[in-house]
Symmetry: C2
Subunit: 159 residues, 2 copies
DNA sequence: ACGCTCATCTGCAACTCATGCGAACAACCA
DNA sequence: TGGTTGTTCGCATGAGTTGCAGATGAGCGT
C-alpha cells in the first residue's frame, strides 16, 4: 500500500476524513510484513491508542482493501490476514506456528492450465504449506528429509 | 477418496462403526466434483435421509479429512469446501457464481522460489480467481477482453 | 437371537470471526 | 466558530463451526 502521507491525499480527495484512528492504522500497516489479522492489528493499535474500537479496525481494513491498498488473504487459519504488499507475490504458511511470509516465484512462468473450459483467469494465488526454519530448528531434523525442498511441485496430474 | 466399499473396510479396521449416515455420506461424496460445503452436503443428505443432523455431517467430513480421504479447501468464500479428489490438482473459483472446479497444471513445473529462508515446502495450493464460461455468457462480452486468458501469471516480482 | 458395550448421532449451547445499526462524535469547509 | 457529514464506537446480530451430554444403535460375544 502507499505511504501514510500518500494515503492522506487519497482519502481527502475522495471526500473521506483523516481521523487519528486511520492515521495510526496507516502507520502500523505501512511496510508491515507480518500479515496481521484484524484482531492482531487491533491489539497493536490499542497499545498506541487505548480505546480504539475493533469495529474501526475492521472498517479501515475493509476500506483499504476495497481501494486496492491492501490484499486480503484467506489462508484457512480462522481469520483473514491483511497484506499491505499488493505487488504480485505469493505466500508461505508454516503449519506449526502459523507464520505467513511473502515469497516471489521465479523461473519461466507462465504455467499453462489444462482444460480451463472457458474460465478466464484474473489472478492466481499460490500458497506454500510447510514448516519454517525456526520451527524446524526446534525439532529433530530427521523427519524433514523426506520432504521436498525448494520445489513447489514436481509433476501435477493424478486423480 | 476411496470408494464407499473400501471406506467400509477402512473404518471397520480402525474400530469405527459403519452407520447408515456415514454410508450415505460416503456415497454422496464419492466422485462428487462440486466441492460441496458442509451445509450443501447436509441439504443433499437430508433429501435422502430426513432427520440427519448437520452435526453428523461436520463430524464425518472432519473424520474423512483427518484420515486423508478428503481435502478441505479454505477459499475465502465463507464456508469450507470439501474435495474428495485428493490427487495433486488445483482449483478455479468463479468470482461471480462461486463455482469451484478442479484444474491440472501442465508445463514444466517445478517453479522455483526465491529466498525460502529455510522454509520447507510440504504442498502447494494454486487458486485461480476469475470468471467461468457460464457467467461470461450471461454478460456483455466486451469487458472480458482486457483479461489474461489461459495464463496463470506473467512475470512475478514487484512490491 | 439376545444383550452388552462403546462409538456415534442428535440437538442445543457456545464460540469465533465478521458485519449491521444507530447514537455520539469529530474532521473539514464555509 | 458553526454546521454538515463522514466516522467511531459499542452492542446486537449473523454465519460457520465445534463442545457437550444424553439418547441411540452398530458390532461383538454368547
Amino acid at each position: 500500500m502507499r505511504s501514510p502521507s500518500e494515503l492522506t491525499t487519497v482519502f481527502r480527495s475522495q471526500g473521506m476524513k483523516l481521523t487519528p484512528q486511520r492515521q495510526l492504522l496507516f502507520r502500523l500497516l505501512h511496510g508491515n510484513i507480518t500479515h496481521p489479522s484484524a484482531d492482531a492489528l487491533y491489539l497493536l493499535a490499542s497499545a498506541h491508542m487505548p480505546g480504539i474500537s475493533l469495529r474501526t479496525v475492521y472498517q479501515t481494513l475493509n476500506d483499504l482493501a476495497s481501494m486496492g491498498e491492501l490484499q486480503q488473504l484467506a489462508l484457512g487459519t480462522g481469520s483473514a490476514r491483511f497484506d499491505p504488499n499488493i505487488g504480485a507475490h505469493h505466500h508461505t504458511i508454516c503449519q506449526r506456528c502459523g507464520e505467513v511470509r511473502d515469497v516471489y516465484l521465479t523461473g519461466d512462468m507462465p504455467a499453462y492450465v489444462q482444460d480451463l473450459a472457458g474460465f478466464v483467469v484474473d489472478s492466481a494465488a499460490v500458497v506454500l504449506h510447510g514448516t519454517c526454519a525456526q520451527c524446524r530448528a526446534g525439532e529433530s531434523t530427521a523427519k524433514s528429509d523426506n520432504r521436498r525442498n525448494n520445489v513447489v511441485y514436481n509433476k501435477e496430474n493424478s486423480t
